[in-house]
Symmetry: C2
Subunit: 354 residues, 2 copies
Amino acid sequence: MAKHKSSLSGVKEIARRAKVSIGTVDRVIHNRGGVSPKTKEKIQRIIKQMDYQPNLLGRRLAMHNKVTTFATLIPKVSDETSFWEAPLKGIERAEAEIKLYNVKIEKYFYDLNEKSSFADVAKKVLKKKPQGILLAPSFIEESIDFAGKCDTLNIPYVFMDSDIPHRSSLSYIGPELYRSGYMAANLVSYLLKDNEDVLIVNVSKQMETDHHLLRKEDGFRGYFKEHHLKNDIHKIDIRKIKYREIKKQLDPVFTKKKNIGLVFVTNSRVSHVAHYIKEEQKDVILVGYDFVKENIQYLDEGIINFLICQKPGEQAYKGVMALYKHIILGLPVEEHIYMPIDVIMKSNYSFYSN
Amino acid sequence: MAKHKSSLSGVKEIARRAKVSIGTVDRVIHNRGGVSPKTKEKIQRIIKQMDYQPNLLGRRLAMHNKVTTFATLIPKVSDETSFWEAPLKGIERAEAEIKLYNVKIEKYFYDLNEKSSFADVAKKVLKKKPQGILLAPSFIEESIDFAGKCDTLNIPYVFMDSDIPHRSSLSYIGPELYRSGYMAANLVSYLLKDNEDVLIVNVSKQMETDHHLLRKEDGFRGYFKEHHLKNDIHKIDIRKIKYREIKKQLDPVFTKKKNIGLVFVTNSRVSHVAHYIKEEQKDVILVGYDFVKENIQYLDEGIINFLICQKPGEQAYKGVMALYKHIILGLPVEEHIYMPIDVIMKSNYSFYSN
DNA sequence: CTGAAAGCGCTTACAG
DNA sequence: CTGAAAGCGCTTACAG
């Protein structure tokens, strides 16, 4: 009887069938070259017909000394909002999960109020030549420039939180901003009486970072238009985030328009408006964005009524994991991963996982 | 110069320091016995001071032939609701993720309308002696019995979707049911006019599976009481899920109580009530539970206004992963993992991930 | 262009 | 009670 070891595993079985050594098999699996076309073809055929899937445990174990480095580039937590705390936690969660596979993550931060800080940090990132990058592209021009350089260096990158279309990013993970504003309006339509007006408030120091706020505003207005809602919509932009300035801008609106029933703030700075509404005891429904501690406090007090949130921590987590899937596992990743649009109120925030 | 190989890894380094072989180290790591107290202590001390973390890649690779089997026991998809589709998908997602570690999942299903089917399948599960079990305990008595047997056999189990307190389950993953109803009422409080009544509808064939519906109802009523809302609350239980029966029960309510402004259905069967409301052209706001295709259709049509949902797929995914963390990784898992309470409406359901 | 050997960190018999 | 050796599925020099 012939010795029939049918249960040979992966590379060994391929080698046996192709009558070559496993070294050669490895060479064609990784396209390392130095293999004659004939044997290469033969091995590839066998791989296909076996539907061979490499054992990642073996792989990573053998490559024990090869560390893969990802870089993340997001805003630092600022006085105006603690929004960026959650993404950092998401990054760390992903890091813990994949460190088993010798992946290290270097975290870089820029200042949302300081455009130049982005370019500075971006340069550092590039110098390190990480194998993959997760980027929150708050500054459009600079981010486009950065993306171009990544393309040149052949470093895959993922956008999170806000997208810059037409870049060759591996993936975008975050809100569909128009839809986010649109759904806010859908919610608002239940909260508003026929004769009441709406006030939209954009709070942001930098014009440059406004593109995503405007998309939300468009979505909001789009809903009203599509559904022929006749409530008047007023709007103000607040650039200076000091209480006195905010009051100076809001006071005249409330005196001129007596029947504002609802205020919609397009980002996480809603707490600053809440402060005003509490102080001045305005009787309005307040809808804003994001699960950050300042906002939760006003939610608890009943000043903020609804927060719309899109799991920033999860966004960052998924961003890192997308790099991991692409670079380590060699799996395809979706080009757009849109986050669910969550509605947070006083009675469900305690179970919300950011 | 002394040969100084300081960079020895895990078990080898422990063995070197303890002046024993790695075999002995392995014995104490796994408490396999057959080690003298003295060397055992010494090795344990070294492990502690090194803060040794075993390399799971090496571990699983070496244990290539040891397959760990989990069993899942959930209801099968029924005519009344496709709710249980999502958990099955969640289980499969978890399975794909951990099969790398030689974990297999055997999936068992029982019939929600057939109490005896649970006991039958449960017996099969136990006979297989899986290393861990994920269970949706719809039938209380039977589940308690089953849990007891698992305890005896020393098989860890996780509950999902509804909890049976005071069992020694590893974890519960699902909604906090009272809170879920409470938050539904919080939402409803914005949608209801002062003079309008509320109708609560429980739709369920089996009394036995009702315990979780009643908890939600309690929470709903609790909110109204706490906030001194004065709207009348009516309630009916529907046991026969045929349109004619549903109509027979709902018609009199709507004729007697003319000012019902909102209907709250406590589970995923809300589509059956939606059917009625559409046919009879009742002008009410309809709030129900769960992201299932029947409901989404009515959401799209504007018959159902809000769905509350708690990611059943994610629940099952996390349930399996809790077993994995406990059994394979030896990590601690939380006793209660409460899911976020999500609000779904027409304009955000398309991004919802179940 | 190809093969044989060593090694990644662990577990598993087997021998003593 | 303890050690030495083989092996898991892969990658990496090195030799030819």
